[in-house]
Symmetry: C2
Subunit: 411 residues, 2 copies
């Protein structure tokens, strides 16, 4: 079959707050081929991603993402890898393309899995899946008291691991951060797995990160995440020499395989955290999982949004038994929960399992998303390149393509 | 003063061909503050870059680029560095932001230079400038005969250095590439400086690149550029071990300081090529020039478009005497030439010199760009976030800001 249509849906909460909560909007991707549809989600700014799908060509290595996907052959897994390679070559100079490709890649896997009646984890080469230990992933409270309450709430919901990040952490004094870390440990109990996320707050400032190590060690944090931006390999490496039993985690900013490889090779990471919605999709994330395994670095998903994104982000390392921790969005906005009818709830043992059903195993609920749909239109030279498509899933025949899709039909 | 307006102009040739010529369209940036305007140019896909300027906020680290620039203080060079840092932090998860910032940063330097009556190269810390040896930068011909003619043309125009890239190179047999390389050398003469640009055609395939080394050595190519994508550090390094007197060049794909640093640290480069229109502007490029100098790697500009971009791309290393080669767009499309009234023509000695006049020293010709202006409109929730602004430069008072700019006034 051939890829017939790519529809992007910009979804948003009515109000987006200036906080580190990435579940406030979403870019849902629907791909149609051979009478099937597949869904994916970009962890990306919606409007620039939409523009990167449909923009006019600038030159041979700066084409819109759609140019490499629409009309492409889609019969087996190697076709999806080939589509990704084509996007990276044909959109080499279009920076946003990796983020846009990510959601499309997920949707292609979902679609192919449905077509072949196989779960994606099997199509990407795993024989079986292993349950993951979810960590309750939330923002720090504004005060240590709020953080304490959040940590207690995590335990009361059955989570034995929790991660606290962003918010005030790293932005004020070392003493205030120590109070936050101690509150998280107290609320989680002595036997909880405590994870701390600095959200790149120190950019590349080694000294600032170093000052927080004693409190992290005292609280027996399992990791300190993103003390620096992804590029600060030297600073990462030095901090990892000094952090003792506190592992260093990072990698969510990686938008291609090489960036993740460099973090694994040069940053002294204990954990590499990959967002399948940014790195180029499940295909690239799967490559990183293999590479991490070969280098003794533990792979962890990065997911703060929907359960569609959660399923997609677990597929790449579903078959690695001892890479067992996984991020679990704990306080997503209603929009993120509305994207799917089913959700990956922890079992009675507290573990999360991927579905065995075809594709990503998630039932997207287009009709339920109407309240969140952001009406968007892009016009260039009087021609509509993009207009928010209808949410209701039409499968066969595919919807009549907008202008930009007509330009890129199969040859 | 405060930044009052950012206007983006999407310019394009009437027809954009599927060839590696990046001068077929442009994104011109005009920044207004204190009754002055400054100009810059993003080496980027125009539509996604426009979208990244004006898109709604997704969360605290995924804000539109405008949010960190409009209303910001602009009185001295440190303000420009601070604006760039703010964009990188506030738009951390907006991938396209680095490309968009690049043109804005140039425009800020241009504006500040005009305000302070100083050339930009002085504001970025150089005491004087040194002339550069321009290389005539063109695409390979479709045949060796065409390449031969292009090389002879370069010499006849007084250039003693020339670079041939993209086109058929690397896409067919080794023998065909050898013919192309030999034709370039023949046309350039034995004493010419010959440079070859593979345009990432081998992605990360070391064996494919290695096969071309004998012909490059025979032709005494001074460098092989971009055999691989920017991330393939290991492959770059290995090739540089084997390439003898043929230097390895790369880096144009870098969109932040760290990427360039990694190429300098880990890729075995002889030359690091920085496009100020992609890496985050003159500010970041200047940092890379210092770092390259400290590591014994030669800095070279990457410029294939206008003379505005050329001036901006030479500022970062204008004061380094022995980093003397510079890329010179030799066959730009009429659009690229129309952007400025003046051009950086080689002197009678064949050398290119930066102007001593304030700012970037280039006189942008807005009125002459009307034929190339691409009418563009972006609407979200019924609100116009972007509409192509008028080309005629209004300075004081600034134009009434569109809706998105009203959202981000100085506090």
């Amino acid at each position: 079959m051939r890829v017939e249509a790519i529809d992007l849906f910009y979804l948003s909460m009515p109000e987006v707050l200036d906080i580190g909560d990435g579940s406030q909007d979403a870019l849902l991707v629907r791909v149609s081929a051979g009478g099937e549809v597949g869904y994916g989600e970009c962890e990306a700014a919606p409007l620039p991603s939409i523009a990167s799908l449909v923009c006019p060509m600038s030159h041979s290595a700066c084409k819109p993402v759609a140019a490499s996907v629409l009309g492409a052959k889609l019969d087996d897994p190697s076709d999806i890898v080939r589509i990704g390679d084509a996007v990276r070559a044909n959109s080499l100079d279009l920076l946003q393309a990796d983020h846009t490709l990510s959601g499309i890649d997920m949707a292609l896997w979902d679609l192919l899995g449905k077509r072949l009646s196989e779960p994606v984890w099997k199509l990407v080469g795993w024989q079986r899946t292993f349950p993951k230990t979810p960590y309750f992933s939330v923002l720090f409270g504004d005060t240590p008291e709020e953080t304490l309450a959040k940590a207690r709430h995590a335990r009361s919901r059955g989570f034995r691991a929790a991660k606290f990040g962003w918010g005030p952490f790293g932005r004020h004094t070392v003493v205030e951060d120590e109070s936050q870390i101690a509150a998280a440990r107290e609320g989680l109990g002595e036997d909880g797995i405590l994870l701390i996320d600095a959200g790149t707050v120190w950019n590349a400032d080694l000294a600032a990160a170093r000052q927080r190590l004693p409190a992290l060690m005292r609280a027996r944090a399992a990791w300190l995440e993103e003390p620096f931006v992804s590029g600060a390999l030297t600073e990462y490496k030095q901090l990892s020499y000094e952090s003792g039993a506190v592992g260093i985690a990072g990698g969510e900013g990686c938008h291609n395989f090489f960036m993740a490889k460099h973090m694994i090779d040069f940053a002294g990471l204990t954990y590499v955290q990959i967002d399948a919605g940014r790195i180029g999709g499940i295909s690239v994330a799967r490559q990183v999982a293999d590479y991490a395994l070969s280098k003794g670095v533990t792979y962890v998903n990065h997911t703060f949004t929907s359960h569609l994104a959660l399923s997609a982000s677990l597929q790449p390392y579903a078959g690695i038994e001892n890479h067992e921790i996984c991020e679990y969005p704990a306080e997503p906005k209603p929009l993120a929960l509305a994207i799917t009818r089913n959700h990956l709830l922890p079992g009675s043992d507290g573990q999360v399992r991927l579905p065995d059903t075809p594709g990503l195993g998630m039932e997207v609920n287009p009709e339920g998303l109407a309240p969140y749909l952001v009406d968007t239109e892009i016009r260039v030279r009087g021609k509509t390149l993009y207009r928010t498509p209808a949410l209701s899933a039409t499968t066969s025949p595919p919807p009549s393509p907008p202008d930009h899709q007509k330009d890129w039909q199969p040859e």
